[in-house]
């Protein structure tokens, strides 16, 4: 007996039991006129479904380039990339946009929300391109906004939200189509340390509750310690790949940081002075 999903009729078959992400000898070379920039020089890596991986490395080491390839925003110069067991390194532009829509959630450093657009409408954006009806879009957007702790803020515009809240809207948007992987390139880069921990709390919760595979690029060792595993890039290669010993748990750390609102923070400042 064969699983009907293996017949190739389904656009994006996933092979059960295979790693969520498996790349072999991945190369990316940019041509700038005469000069060739070797951004990736042979990355081989496997990420199991449900893993939370932090990617670290110096500036220019190829982290973002790698994330773009994993996110199907770009194609590798050489090497293979299997997403859920299916080789997607050579698929067409149209199929890549479908994969981005169905399988991948992006969270960016700069949030990238649509200005003058409500949190709800920002969150539902991927569903617009998935052909989901309006009523269902609103339903699901409210649901994911609740999941990231933004119930009651559906009608707020980005300019009426704090940085942390804006990043939560972005996470809600990344989650709305139930992707198999979440890609976050320095999601806490624009946030203060407490808000960063709040975002990590959401990531850890989603990772645990939904078995969501997460790839997180960060410069901060502290943030990387919330992941299961830490991969360090150097000059377009994997330098180090180690499990995180003594993993930080945001849910535990958060209460020790004190109240979140501004008044409490100010009180702390006064006490310190």
């Amino acid at each position: 007996m064969q699983d009907p999903a293996h017949h190739g009729v389904v656009v994006e078959p996933s092979v059960p039991g295979s790693p969520a992400i498996e790349v072999r000898d991945l190369h990316k070379t940019y041509k700038l006129g005469e000069i060739q920039v070797h951004a990736l020089r042979g990355i081989s890596l496997a990420v199991e479904a449900g893993e939370f991986v932090a990617i670290m490395g110096m500036s220019g080491s190829g982290k973002s380039t790698f994330m773009n390839l994993i996110g199907c925003l770009d194609r590798p110069t050489r090497g293979t990339y299997c997403l859920d067991g299916r080789d997607v390194s050579r698929v067409s532009k149209r199929d890549r946009s479908r994969i981005r829509n169905q399988k991948i959630g992006f969270v960016f450093q700069g949030f990238n929300l649509l200005p003058r657009t409500s949190a709800l409408e920002n969150a539902e954006l991927p569903l617009l391109y998935a052909g989901v009806g309006r009523k269902q879009r609103i339903e699901r957007a409210s649901e994911v906004l609740r999941a990231v702790g933004l119930a009651g803020r559906e009608r707020h515009h980005p300019s009426q939200l704090s940085g942390g809240q804006q990043q939560r809207v972005a996470i809600a948007r990344a989650l709305i189509n139930n992707p198999s992987i979440l890609l976050a390139d320095e999601p806490t880069g624009n946030l203060d340390s407490r808000t960063s921990v709040e975002i990590m709390e959401i990531f850890q919760r989603l990772n645990q509750e939904r078995r969501l595979t997460i790839l997180l690029v960060t410069h901060e060792e502290d943030i990387a310690r919330y992941a299961h595993r830490m991969v360090t890039f150097r000059d377009g290669r994997v330098q180090r790949d180690t499990p995180v010993a003594d993993r930080s748990l945001a849910a535990r750390i958060l209460p020790t940081l004190g109240a979140a609102d501004v008044e409490a923070a100010e009180e702390e400042n006064h006490e310190g002075a």
């Binding site: 773009n68 996110g71 925003l73 770009d74 532009k93 149209r94 946009s97 479908r98 981005r100 829509n101 169905q102 992006f106 960016f108 990238n112 649509l114 200005p115 003058r116 657009t117 954006l125 991927p126 617009l128 391109y129 998935a130 052909g131 309006r134 948007r173 189509n177």
Partner: protein, 405 residues
């Protein structure tokens, strides 16, 4: 994305930048309004000319006694005594495509009623004259062939003559004096008002031509013959036949010039209508150019908008929008802008046409078909000028677009 979604996204995006959207639409609004105004003014003028042509007469041909020219100057009927009633009868009998025919003799004269007098023109005609010139009797009745046979002293007054002699008094049955001839008023003609050249078309009165010939002018020839062709197309052939017939009847040799001349006044008005039509086309074309300028305005703003929203486009592409989705989004915005501009332009155009008609007293006619065409055309302008910016947006690289500062 469905059409509804595309339109919704477009409207929302435009609503986010209301001022800019309105200013962008202004080009299209002005263009469409200009087109509608010029078409409305043109259609008004044309309907007025058609009205005037109808007033001139029913496919009228006018045979005037006297050659067309002496040293290039028309001599008119003065002194030409060759056009006779028998000529009119011969024309009527031998040329079938004629519906009505009337002899015509006229002379300026003074008319008196009580202590009122008026200087006007008397036209001696047959009852068919009313049909040839499309005159109707407003009050009383016309005279008949019998009156012509007896040279009866009866008359039909033009409105101006009636007003000047009778004021508010009822003229029917009253007797006026034409020179020294007492004459009974039996009817009043409807008013036609001023001619295009500003002449009062109602300042005359009609009598049987026999009466004018015998009792007023003392002549036995005719000044003119007026007749109607069955169709406009029949006018030319009839003219040729009349020319041949009259030349034969007047025993003119081949080297002699005609002792009569033929005119059909509608032709002059038709020429006016033609030049007016060309003028309308010209005006509308100039106005259409402003529509195209409006379209270029849309393209300009859409290009700015695509650049400004590069990150938005990058994001949309990242979360799964296809090239087609982005293309349709921006094309949708351009089309909504221009169609909306077209709709508002139609309103402004109608309003402006009414202002023109009430302040300049020009006849204005808004053709409703033109309104639909204007909206559709402006939507096409939007699609045309929105295509390039939309194409540009759709072909952005998502990574570059996301990183755009």
């Amino acid at each position: 994305m469905g059409l509804i979604s595309i339109l919704r996204v477009a409207v929302l995006a435009l609503a986010r930048n209301k001022m800019r959207s309105v200013l962008t639409m202004l080009g299209i609004i002005i263009g469409v309004a200009a087109v509608i105004c010029s078409v409305a003014v043109g259609a008004g003028a044309s309907s007025q000319i058609q009205q005037q042509i109808a007033n001139l007469g029913d496919n009228m041909i006018w045979v005037e006694a006297g050659g067309r020219s002496v040293n290039g100057v028309r001599t008119g009927s003065k002194g030409t005594k060759t056009l006779l009633l028998l000529d009119a009868k011969a024309i009527q009998q031998q040329i079938p495509a004629i519906t009505n025919i009337s002899p015509h003799v006229d002379t300026p004269t003074q008319v008196v009623y009580g202590n009122q007098n008026w200087y006007t023109t008397v036209r001696g005609v047959s009852p068919e004259y009313l049909a040839v010139r499309r005159w109707a009797v407003e009050r009383g009745s016309s005279f008949f062939q019998e009156d012509v046979d007896h040279a009866a002293s009866v008359c039909l007054l033009g409105h101006t003559v009636m007003e000047n002699l009778f004021g508010t008094e009822d003229p029917i049955g009253k007797t006026i004096r034409v020179r020294n001839l007492p004459c009974q008023v039996i009817g009043i003609l409807t008013a036609k008002g001023q001619s295009p050249s500003g002449q009062d078309q109602d300042d005359f009165f009609l009598m049987p031509f026999t009466t004018v010939q015998k009792k007023i002018k003392g002549i036995d020839w005719l000044d003119d013959i007026m007749l109607s062709a069955a169709t406009p197309a029949a006018i030319r052939p009839i003219e040729r036949e009349i020319t041949a017939l009259l030349r034969e009847r007047h025993h003119l040799r081949a080297d002699e010039e005609d002792d009569f001349n033929l005119r059909h006044p509608a032709e002059i008005a038709q020429a006016g209508a033609e030049s007016q039509r060309i003028m309308t086309i010209l005006l509308a074309s100039i106005a259409s150019v402003s529509l195209i300028v409006g379209g270029i305005g849309i393209m300009n703003i859409m290009l700015v908008s695509v650049t400004e929203r590069t990150r938005e486009i990058g994001l949309r592409l990242a979360v799964g929008a296809g090239e087609m989705d982005v293309q349709m989004q921006f094309l949708g915005e351009a089309t909504v802008l221009s169609a909306l501009g077209g709709g508002v332009g139609v309103g402004v155009g109608i309003l402006a046409s009414n202002v023109i008609s009430s302040t300049l007293r020009w006849p204005v006619l808004v053709p409703w078909g033109a309104l639909v065409v204007a909206v559709i055309f402006s939507a096409i302008v939007g699609v045309f000028f929105g295509y390039y910016p939309a194409h540009k947006a759709a072909h952005l690289d998502p990574i570059d677009a996301l990183r755009y500062e």
